[in-house]
């Protein structure tokens, strides 16, 4: 289950979606809007996204996690639009036969989501606002198979 939606995120169907009879562990991560960042009081956040590509990239992160860790399933939901303090912006669930892999893979998935998924947050303070610049996504090398650049 992967989604990028403006509605409050519900963990129950996400956890249900990753549950497997052979999985003894599920790690679920909540990214939550907190009331300060870098010492500055935050009033609320506003998330923008390129939703189609964001969902595609969430799936790619899940595939990467499945390839690198002994896990049974991965799912992720990201909320967009205005979020108040304490609301959940991100849910990532990973099921695995054992807990170590569930924790490590879930942590890795969250790290990767923050690096490659085209979603942006604007912090709104009492006296202003700013789009936060996080990670510059890696761009694949230009390969011989691509059409030659026009000169």
């Amino acid at each position: 289950m992967f989604a990028v939606i403006p509605d409050p995120l519900d963990p129950a169907p996400l956890v249900q979606a990753v549950r497997r009879d052979e999985a003894g562990a599920v790690a679920l991560f909540y990214g939550v809007v907190r009331n300060e960042n870098l010492g500055r009081a935050v009033r609320y956040l506003e998330y923008d996204a390129y939703p189609e590509m964001a969902i595609k990239k969430l799936r790619e992160v899940a595939d990467e996690v499945q390839a690198q860790f002994d896990v049974t399933a991965v799912g992720a939901l990201h909320r967009i639009g205005r979020l108040e303090i304490g609301e959940t912006s991100l849910l990532v669930a990973v099921s695995a036969p054992h807990r170590r892999e569930a924790f490590e893979a879930c942590h890795y998935a969250v790290d990767r989501i923050k690096q490659v998924v085209p979603i942006w947050k604007k912090e709104v303070w009492d006296d202003g606002a700013e789009w936060i610049e996080g990670h510059i996504p890696e761009v694949p090398e230009h390969t011989a198979g691509d059409p030659a650049p026009a000169t």
């Binding site: 809007v33 990201h78 979603i119 942006w120 610049e133 990670h135 510059i136 030659a148 026009a150």
Partner: protein, 82 residues
């Protein structure tokens, strides 16, 4: 040829539009698109150094050759999560 360019986050705020259309020579690359963008929207120039581009929902390098009607997304540094 023309390509469609989608703007997000700070760029969306600055330009005030989600989508713009750019006129480019046939066979233009992402590098050429970036130049044209800076010419037509000087306000965007400060963002170019950290901007990457996506075509068909995939990140592409500067050498990537565009085609008529391509949908190009301008991707500032991402900051999803919490």
């Amino acid at each position: 040829m023309t390509v469609n360019v989608r703007l997000f986050a700070g760029l969306h705020d600055l330009v005030g539009k989600r989508d713009i259309v750019l006129d480019l020579p046939d066979g233009a690359t992402i590098a050429q698109l970036r130049h044209r963008l800076a010419e037509e929207y000087p306000i965007v120039e400060a963002f170019l150094s950290t901007l990457v581009c996506a075509v068909d929902e995939e990140y592409v390098p500067s050498e990537h050759v565009l085609a008529q009607g391509d949908n190009v997304a301008l991707i500032p540094p991402v900051s999803g999560g919490a």
